[in-house]
């Protein structure tokens, strides 16, 4: 049975699309047939991070409006044949996403995919609701920063009250916390909320911690999900998170400062 995962946060700019791109790629690399859907109608960006922006012909809204069928709109990822992308419409109004329309597309996708990853827009407006409404599991992306954590809490409230599972009294949406842009150095100096601080405040199970990394910007510049960069800590952390999501017991890494050697200190090497 296909599983629907929403990547959400409330606040913008915390790494939802980066996470959606890497997470979906990670699931596909593990051999699962995965589709990642951009719900950010009007501000489509997922295709850019996946490096397929020039191959977009039809989009999600075209499929809902029956102007194209799913196979015409789905873009096969050039790195993995298990991965497909359903881009958002750049021109339409976000109200083009209707509950019935979204449900119909998701039901069709369920027939041929193992995982359906929904990249939510920021905010708590219609688009964000549509992205979370049919979710079985939710990955709440948060930065260790007060406004982001507050917005995440707000989203958790909505996940437990406004989703299909909540409305119909089914088993609640399974919620995970993914902490991104984490800087162990700043946490050590007392300048940043720690993993435990955020976990305690949100009382949420931790899926992963992605260290603040320059590789994330480099990856988006190139249109290659950061998880593909094997030399990057961020990629390893995303990989661990995917493993944890799939049920493996992997310890959390990259949350401690690296001890600098005596020579390193002497020569100012990091």
């Amino acid at each position: 049975m296909a599983k629907i995962i929403v990547i959400t946060s409330g606040k913008g700019g915390v790494g939802k699309t980066t996470t959606s791109a890497s997470f979906a790629t990670g699931l596909a690399l593990k051999g699962y047939k995965t589709v990642v859907i951009d719900f950010d109608v009007g501000l489509r960006n997922l295709d850019l991070l996946m490096g397929c922006e020039r191959r977009v012909v039809y989009d999600f809204v075209n499929v809902i409006n029956k102007e194209a069928n799913l196979n015409q709109a789905l873009i096969r990822d050039k790195r993995s044949d298990k991965l497909h992308i359903l881009p958002a419409s750049q021109t339409r109004d976000k109200d083009a996403l209707t509950v019935e329309g979204v449900e119909e597309v998701l039901n069709e996708l369920k027939l041929s995919f193992d995982y359906i990853v929904c990249d939510s827009p920021a905010g708590i407006e219609h688009g964000a609701f549509m992205a979370m409404y049919f979710a079985d599991e939710a990955i709440v992306v948060s930065n260790p920063e007060i406004s982001s954590v507050r917005d995440s809490d707000r989203i958790l409230g909505l996940l437990s009250s406004k989703t299909k599972r909540a409305v119909e009294g089914l088993e609640p949406v399974k919620e995970h916390l993914l902490l991104t842009r984490y800087s162990p150095e700043r946490v050590e100096k007392g300048e940043m909320l720690s993993v435990d601080d955020v976990k305690d405040i949100l009382s949420l199970s931790l899926l992963g911690v992605i260290p603040d990394s320059q590789d994330v910007l480099t990856a988006s510049n190139q249109g290659i999900p950061v998880i593909m960069n094997n030399d990057s800590d961020a990629a390893l952390a995303y990989n661990d998170s995917v493993d944890r999501f799939l049920g493996d017991d992997v310890p959390i890494r990259f949350t401690n400062t690296r001890k600098r050697s005596f020579l390193g200190k002497l020569f100012g090497r990091k």
Partner: protein
């Protein structure tokens, strides 16, 4: 008092963040489950009381609790030591 000031200035920003955040989230969570008329009710009730007694807004609180099957509207008013007659 310089010593006192010294220790206070040493307070890490993350502690301030934690404290602000836990208060904020507790308040958000209460408000999420409440009917939307509550802030208005609070404002108007306060205005009515202020017509008769000189109280500050911080001396007035209103909360909606659930006890068993019962919803309880709790209103707390701290009257000044010497309530002056405004009329």
């Amino acid at each position: 008092m310089d010593l006192f000031k010294y220790f206070r200035s040493k307070r890490k920003s993350v502690d301030v963040a934690k404290e602000r955040l836990s208060i904020l989230i507790a308040r958000d969570r209460i408000q999420m489950g409440q009917p939307s008329f509550l802030p208005m009710l609070q404002k108007e009730l306060l205005e009515v009381i202020q017509k008769y007694v000189d109280i500050d807004s911080k001396d007035f609180s209103l909360a909606l609790d659930t006890e068993n099957d019962c919803e309880v509207l709790e209103i707390n008013v701290v009257l000044p030591e010497k309530a002056t007659d405004k009329m």
